[in-house]
Subunit: 227 residues, 2 copies
DNA sequence: CAAGTGTCTTTCGTCTACAGTCTACGGTGC
DNA sequence: GCACCGTAGACTGTAGACGAAAGACACTTG
């Protein structure tokens, strides 16, 4: 116990910059997801290093982490290239995402408390407000937070980590699509919350599966506009 | 097209050593999975570098990859420590593994050809021979190859990659257990092959789910010998 | 004797330098 | 004019060195 009598929360904790590689990682991921770095582009270490004002080493470490998570392809003795998504890969990712999210919904229904359900409803209400206000960016962000909250309620850290990675990549693949089906999405969220509140695992699983399958359909509708 | 007329496969491709970090990664992973490096142990970069005869840099990169895959915990400004498995985490991993393997079985049942089924039967036969000969190491290795083959037949690279990581960690967690339930395991494999050969997705999913759930039960039986 | 403090060692995080390898372009011979 | 070879440039892979933070220990002081 401290004897200084300082209030616990008053100390700003003097935020330290944290490892440089992590900040480089986040910066690069931001550049990739925002399409500032397009698929197939050659990422030169020294170039990025100079641009970010750091040495090559942190850049290398960030690139390798991005590689292990599927954002860039690291060809030996040649360098890093932003990963080029293929149709088949997008489809596989959506399959896995459906699987993980559905299981999360089931676990959430099995173990969520009243506080968790209330949090979901709060997020859902905010999302509906954002959609009503045509604030697309906020709606997308809240959508991500909603799914993350379901994951949290599932109480499975391993599952959550895998789902987070897969989700992020899925969102990257079909960013343009997400902006179109905002409204219907939140209706489905409402139904899902009801199922979770009722502790109905079967229904929660089914609803989440249908929900993510709608996403898949939207993606294919965009990919093959002629069909 | 090459005009030399050399047969394509005849050239030994003059295998180059490949990136040093990958070999360091594999070496460390081997040391961890074989318990040569116990959970909680502090891994000093310079020490490992000297021991492996390389510089610190490849060791750092290997450690970071191991960290991202959950094998070591990388505490900032302090170093790398071999991850210490907890009961809760093992349970979560098994849950995810069940999920991924069951889906793989379903996809395999949906899309496997006769050649794939034949390959599975071949592996199964080898596994049964290994069990009959009390060759535990071979049986364990064949078990891994069997599951990997099912994954391959599922035709989903993303799913396969996730499952490979999860599987490897699960095997690490309960290595002692795997050695005990060898025989029953292959009986269940036979049933699974039959379901896949019949293109019965429902049954394949159920069988694989039960199969991995048996693994979970074995684990808990070991963890709580009194129950 | 106990609490606090200063120093000291260990180890990580980052930067700079060098060697190996791949790619691209220009020159030369046919 | 075309194909092949040689050379130059650029980039990655690896090694070594320096600065900084965290932990341990002994010393001082009330």
């Amino acid at each position: 116990m401290l004897s200084t009598g300082l209030p616990q929360g008053a100390v700003p904790k003097l935020e330290r910059p944290g490892p440089l590689r992590d900040r480089v990682y986040e910066a690069l991921l931001e550049l990739i997801t925002t399409r500032a770095l397009g698929p197939g582009q050659h990422l030169v270490e020294s170039e990025l290093a100079g641009h970010l004002g750091v040495s090559r080493q942190p850049v290398r470490e960030a690139l390798q982490r991005l590689n292990s998570e599927g954002w860039v392809d690291l060809r030996p003795a040649q360098g890093a290239f932003v990963h080029e998504p293929t149709e088949a890969e997008a489809d596989q990712l959506l399959t896995v995402r459906t699987l993980l999210e559905a299981e999360a919904a089931r676990l959430a229904a099995a173990g969520a408390g009243d506080a968790g359900v209330a949090a979901l409803e709060e997020l859902c209400a905010e999302g509906e407000r954002a959609v009503a206000a045509d604030d697309v960016d906020a709606a997308v962000a809240l959508n991500a937070r909603f799914h993350a909250k379901v994951m949290e309620l599932a109480g499975n850290a391993v599952l959550a980590e895998l789902a987070a990675q897969v989700d992020r990549r899925v969102r990257w693949y079909y960013t343009p699509v997400a902006r179109q089906r905002g409204r219907q999405s939140w209706v489905e969220h409402r139904e899902l919350i009801a199922a979770i509140a009722d502790r109905d695992e079967q229904r929660a699983t089914r609803l989440m599966r249908e929900h993510t399958e709608h996403t898949r359909r939207s993606y294919h509708a965009r990919a093959e506009p002629g069909s």
